[in-house]
C-alpha cells in the first residue's frame, strides 16, 4: 500500500542511497572471486529463491483477502481453471479443454484426469463447484464475487466436467475463471471463509505448498510433490516481509534477497552506477497492465465541454512527465489497453503537445484573458481548478508538471495530495472534485464496463468522473456479449477511438514494471514476453555452483 510515511522515507532514502554511492562507491571492490555468473549452466532442480514484499498478506484465500500481497503468494499454491500463456492467450490450467455452447451462454470445462491436492485427496469438479458456491455465497463478502454471480446455473455432470450457464452470453467469463483460485472442498466445507484457519495454513494443488509462515517475518514455500502441472525447478521460495523499500534494497545489495521490484531511480541511476551490483544483478523491464491518468469531473463546468478537455490534453507535455517523473521508463498511450496486445488499437496516436492548438480551442470555448493577469476568464470567472491525488510521489510530481504547462496556456491549477482512505471516501465517492490524477490497474480482459458505462456512476462505483456517451455504452454492452476474439477486438478498438476523441481523461503514461533479479537465477526470458518475466517461473533454476551456501536446508 502506498502511504505518506513510506513515500517520505523512500524519497529521503533515495537521497541517502545516492549519497552513499558517491561517498563509499570505491570501498566495495567488485569481487572477482566466486563462480562466473554470466556463463551458461545446465538446468537443474534445487536451490532457494528469496524475495521480499512490503506488506504481509492478511490470509491466503485471495478471493477473501483481496490484496495483491495475498494473491502473489497464493498463486503459487492454488490453481485456476484457465490461465494466460506467455502471449496472453488463454490456455488450460486445471482443465484440459473447454467448450462454449452455440448460444454462447454455456461453458463446459473438462478437467485433466488424476488431479490431486497436496494432501493426496483427489481434486474433482466438486471442488470447482464448491469454490463457485463459496465465492457467490451470501455470507461471503468477496470483493470479486460480481463476475460469478452472473452464473445462473453451475453443474458437475461427472467428476471431470464442470459446466456453467449464464443468463446471457458474457464475454469476460473466461477471464474471470482464470482468476478464481480453486479451493479444496474436503477441508473447507462448513467453514466460515472469513475466519477459517485454512487461510494461514492452506492446502493447494499448484507447484508449491506453504511450509511455514512466521508472522511478520517470512513465508516459506516448498515444492509440492503432487503438483498437478509437473515439478517446478526451484526447491523453496522464501518471501521475506520488509516494509521499507530502502531496507529491501540494502538486503539486495548484501545478497540476502534475490529478487526485488525497483523504482526508476534504482533501475536507471543507482544500479548502473555501481559495477559490483551490475555484475551480480540482471535488470528486467516489462510493461504492466496499468496507466496513470488525469481525469475530469465531467459534471463540473467547464469540463463538460469537449473543447476544454481536448485543449488541456494538447497543453500537457506527456513526454516531459515520462522523462521527468519516470526517468523515461514509461510510454505514452492512446487507449486504456496495454500497448502491443490484441486490444490496443494501433491506429490511435496520443494527443501531441501543442500549446497553440490548446489556446485556440480554449478561445473557441469562450475563454479569454480579459483582465490581463495571465489567467483566462469566461463570464468573468477565472479558469482555475484543483487537482487532487493520493499521496503518491509520482502522481504528485506529474501534477506539478501539469500545473506548469497549464499555466502556460492561462489555466490556474492548485494541487492537493490526500491520504488514501480520506481521498476515496471524502472526494471520489462524493464526487466533490474537479480533476484527479490517479491510476488504473487492469485485468487482462478488455471489458471496462465498470469504469466507463454511464450506469456505473453511483457512489462507490468506478465511473466517478461521470462519463456518459451512448456510443460507448453500446460498445461496452456489445463487447460483453461477443465471445469471438476478432469481432470483440474490433468493438474495443472502436471504443478506444471514441474515448480518445472525447478525452474524458488525459492518458499520462504507462509505466514499466522494473525488476532486479540476482544472476544466479537462470532460465528467465529476456526480453520479457507480453505476459511478463514471471510466466515461466516454474522453469527458473539456480545452478548448484551459484547457490548460497550459508543457508542449509
Amino acid at each position: 500500500m502506498t502511504n505518506a510515511f513510506s513515500s517520505f522515507t523512500q524519497s529521503a532514502s533515495i537521497v541517502l542511497v545516492t549519497l552513499i554511492i558517491s561517498a563509499c562507491g570505491s570501498s566495495h571492490n567488485p569481487s572477482t572471486s566466486g563462480p562466473d555468473l554470466s556463463k551458461p549452466y545446465p538446468s537443474e532442480a534445487g536451490g532457494i529463491l528469496i524475495s521480499a514484499m512490503t506488506a504481509e498478506p492478511s490470509g491466503l484465500i485471495s478471493m477473501i483477502a483481496g490484496e495483491s500481497a495475498s494473491s502473489a503468494i497464493s498463486s503459487n499454491i492454488f490453481n485456476t481453471l484457465l490461465k494466460y500463456d506467455k502471449n496472453l492467450e488463454l490456455e488450460g490450467d486445471l482443465v484440459k479443454s473447454w467448450e462454449i455452447s452455440s448460444d454462447q451462454k454455456t461453458i463446459i470445462f473438462r478437467l485433466k484426469p488424476g488431479l490431486k491436492w497436496a494432501d493426496d485427496k483427489p481434486l474433482t469438479s466438486a471442488d470447482v463447484l464448491f469454490t463457485w458456491q463459496a465465492v457467490t455465497d451470501d455470507k461471503t463478502a468477496s470483493p470479486y464475487a460480481s463476475d460469478f454471480q452472473l452464473v445462473k446455473k453451475a453443474e458437475t455432470p461427472d467428476p471431470l466436467t464442470f459446466t456453467v450457464t449464464y443468463a446471457q452470453a458474457y464475454a469476460p467469463a473466461l477471464d474471470s475463471w482464470a482468476g478464481l483460485q480453486i479451493l479444496p472442498k474436503h477441508l473447507l466445507q462448513g467453514q466460515d471463509l472469513h475466519t477459517t484457519s485454512f487461510a494461514r495454513n492452506p492446502v493447494g494443488s499448484h507447484y508449491y505448498k506453504l511450509d511455514r509462515w512466521t508472522h511478520g517475518e517470512n513465508l516459506k514455500l516448498s515444492r509440492n510433490p503432487n503438483s498437478v502441472l509437473g515439478q517446478a525447478k526451484i526447491d523453496q521460495l522464501i518471501t521475506r516481509i520488509i516494509p521499507d523499500n530502502s531496507a529491501q534494497f540494502l538486503e539486495l545489495m548484501a545478497d540476502n534477497i534475490d529478487y526485488m521490484g525497483l523504482d526508476p531511480i534504482k533501475y536507471s541511476r543507482i544500479i548502473p552506477a555501481r559495477p559490483e551490483l551490475q555484475q551480480k544483478l540482471a535488470l528486467y523491464k516489462e510493461l504492466g497492465n496499468s496507466y496513470t491518468y488525469m481525469g475530469f469531473n465531467l459534471k463540473h463546468k467547464p469540463f463538460n465541454d469537449v473543447r476544454v478537455r481536448r485543449a488541456i490534453n494538447y497543453a500537457i507535455d506527456k513526454q516531459e512527465i515520462i522523462d521527468g517523473v519516470y526517468l523515461g521508463l514509461g510510454i505514452n498511450i492512446a487507449s486504456p489497453y496495454k500497448p502491443g496486445t490484441r486490444w490496443s488499437n494501433p491506429a490511435l496516436t496520443p494527443y501531441p503537445y501543442d500549446p497553440a492548438k490548446a489556446r485556440q480551442l480554449l478561445k473557441e470555448a469562450g475563454f479569454a484573458d480579459t483582465d490581463g493577469d495571465g489567467i483566462l476568464e469566461r463570464d468573468g470567472k477565472p479558469f482555475t481548478f484543483e487537482i487532487i491525488t493520493n499521496q503518491n510521489k509520482e502522481r504528485e510530481k506529474s501534477a506539478v508538471l501539469i500545473q506548469r504547462r497549464l499555466k502556460d496556456v492561462g489555466i490556474d491549477v492548485k494541487i492537493r495530495a490526500i491520504e488514501w482512505a480520506s481521498f476515496i471516501s471524502r472526494f471520489i465517492k462524493t464526487g466533490d472534485f474537479d480533476v484527479v490524477v490517479l491510476g488504473w490497474g487492469l485485468g487482462l480482459d478488455p471489458d471496462q464496463f465498470n469504469i466507463w458505462h454511464s450506469s456505473q456512476q453511483a457512489p462507490g462505483q468506478f465511473n466517478f468522473i461521470g462519463y456518459h456517451n451512448p456510443t460507448v455504452d453500446q460498445l461496452l454492452e456489445q463487447g460483453r456479449l461477443e465471445l469471438n476474439p476478432d469481432k470483440r477486438m474490433k468493438i474495443y478498438h472502436e471504443f478506444a477511438r471514441v474515448l480518445l476523441d472525447d478525452s474524458p481523461i488525459v492518458y499520462l503514461s504507462a509505466g514499466y514494471g522494473l525488476t532486479a533479479i540476482h544472476k544466479r537465477v537462470k532460465g528467465i526470458d529476456d526480453p520479457a514476453p507480453p505476459a511478463g518475466i514471471g510466466h515461466n517461473s516454474q522453469d527458473w533454476y539456480i545452478p548448484q555452483p551459484l547457490r548460497r551456501n550459508e543457508i542449509s536446508q
Binding site: Y144, T195, H215, G216, A421, I424, P459, G460
Partner: protein, 340 residues
C-alpha cells in the same frame, strides 16, 4: 496509603471509558473505513460486496451504536477481531473447534516491542547516568562540553537516516550485522547459543539507535539533578565531615539526583509498549508501532481501539506507579500523600 491506591485505581475506570469514547469518535470522524483501502479500488470489486463487508462489521450502524457494541464486548475484556488481518483476534489467541490456535495481533507484537524498548531503556540508563554524573562533576569543563556535544548530535540526527547509514556500513559493506528482520532464515537449525547470538545480532541496530538518540534527554536530567544537589547544604556538610569525594557523590548526592528519573521512567511505561513506526518499518520488525500505524491507515477500528485502550490503561497505571515510587523514595512526598 491502601485507601489512596484503591481510590486512584477506581478513578481510572471512568477515565478509561472517557478516553475510549473520545478515541472511538475521533477514529470514526476520519473519512473512510476498512472498505476504502487500496485493493477496494479494483474495478472488479463491486460496491455491493463492500456494502456487505460494512454490514458484516456493523459499520453501517450509527457511531454511538458501534461504540455501545464495542463497550459491551470490552466489559468482558473481549478486544474483538481485526478487520484487516483475516479476523485475527486483536489481543489474545483463540482456539477454534478443530483446535487450531490463532494468535492475537497484540500478543505477537507486544513481546517484541517490549524487549526492544526495555533493552533500549537499560542501555540508555547505563550510559546516561555515568555521563550525567561526569558532566555535572566537570561542569563547564571539556568533558562536560564533549558530552553535551555528543548528546546533541545524537539528538539531532534523524533516527531513520542514522539507521540506514549504519545498515549500509555494518550490513552491506562489512557484513558484521544483519540488515533487517528479527531472525536469520535458518534460525531453527541453530543450537541455543546460536539462537541467542542470532537474536542479539538482529536486535543490535534497532536497540542501539533509539538509545543513542534518546540519550540526550536523560543525560541532561541526571546532570541537572546532580548540579542541583551538589549545591545543597548537606553535600557541603558531607564534604566538611571529611568524607571522600567518591562517597559524597555516589552515596549522598546521586540518590537524590536520581529522584526525577523515577517520574521519567514511570511516564515512559506507555512508551515501552508503543514502539516506533519508523524504526520498525526500516528494520522490518513486526512490532506495536507498525501494527498501530497500519491499523490506522486501513481503518482497522478494533485494532486501533485495542491498542489505544491498552496504551491509556498503561499510561494511567504508569502515572500511579510513578507517584507510588516517588512516595516510597522520598519521605517528604510520602507524608504529603498520607495527609491528602
Amino acid at each position: 496509603m491502601l485507601k489512596y491506591i484503591i481510590k486512584r485505581v477506581l478513578w481510572m475506570i471512568p477515565l478509561l471509558v472517557g478516553i475510549s469514547l473520545v478515541s472511538f469518535l475521533i477514529m470514526h470522524l476520519a473519512p473512510g473505513d476498512i472498505t476504502s483501502n487500496e485493493s477496494a479500488f479494483n474495478p472488479k470489486a463491486s460496491e455491493e460486496s463492500r456494502q456487505k463487508l460494512r454490514e458484516m462489521y456493523n459499520l453501517d450502524k450509527p457511531v454511538i451504536v458501534q461504540y455501545g457494541l464495542w463497550l459491551k464486548r470490552m466489559a468482558t475484556l473481549d478486544f474483538g477481531k481485526s478487520f484487516a488481518s483475516h479476523q485475527k483476534p486483536v489481543f489474545w489467541q483463540t482456539t477454534d473447534k478443530d483446535g487450531n490456535v490463532t494468535k492475537g495481533l497484540i500478543q505477537e507484537a507486544l513481546p517484541i516491542t517490549l524487549m526492544i524498548n526495555l533493552l533500549g531503556l537499560a542501555i540508555t540508563l547505563l550510559l546516561a547516568i555515568p555521563l550525567g554524573i561526569i558532566a555535572a562533576r566537570k561542569y563547564l569543563g571539556w568533558q562536560d562540553r564533549a558530552i553535551t556535544l555528543f548528546n546533541f548530535i545524537g539528538f539531532s540526527i534523524p533516527g531513520f537516516w542514522l539507521s540506514l547509514l549504519l545498515m549500509y556500513w555494518l550490513g552491506v559493506v562489512n557484513n558484521w550485522f544483519p540488515i533487517s528482520g528479527l531472525h536469520s532464515l535458518n534460525y531453527d537449525s541453530f543450537d541455543t547459543w546460536g539462537k541467542i547470538k542470532d537474536s542479539l545480532s538482529h536486535l543490535f541496530l534497532p536497540v542501539i539507535i533509539p538509545s543513542i538518540t534518546g540519550l540526550a534527554g536523560i543525560t541532561l536530567f541526571v546532570k541537572n539533578g546532580m548540579l542541583d544537589v551538589l549545591h545543597q547544604d548537606y553535600i557541603t556538610t558531607a564534604r566538611a565531615k571529611g568524607l571522600n569525594e567518591h562517597k559524597v557523590i555516589y552515596t549522598h548526592a546521586l540518590r537524590n539526583a536520581l529522584l526525577p528519573l523515577i517520574t521519567i521512567i514511570g511516564l515512559s511505561i506507555p512508551g515501552l509498549i508503543g514502539g516506533s513506526v519508523i524504526a520498525e518499518t526500516i528494520f522490518a520488525i513486526p512490532g506495536m508501532g507498525k501494527l498501530f500505524y497500519d491499523a490506522v491507515l486501513m481503518r482497522d477500528f478494533p485494532v486501533v481501539m485495542g491498542i489505544l485502550t491498552i496504551g491509556s490503561a498503561l499510561t494511567l497505571l504508569g502515572n500511579l506507579l510513578a507517584d507510588l515510587m516517588y512516595a516510597w523514595a522520598d519521605p517528604r512526598v510520602r507524608r504529603g500523600v498520607v495527609k491528602g
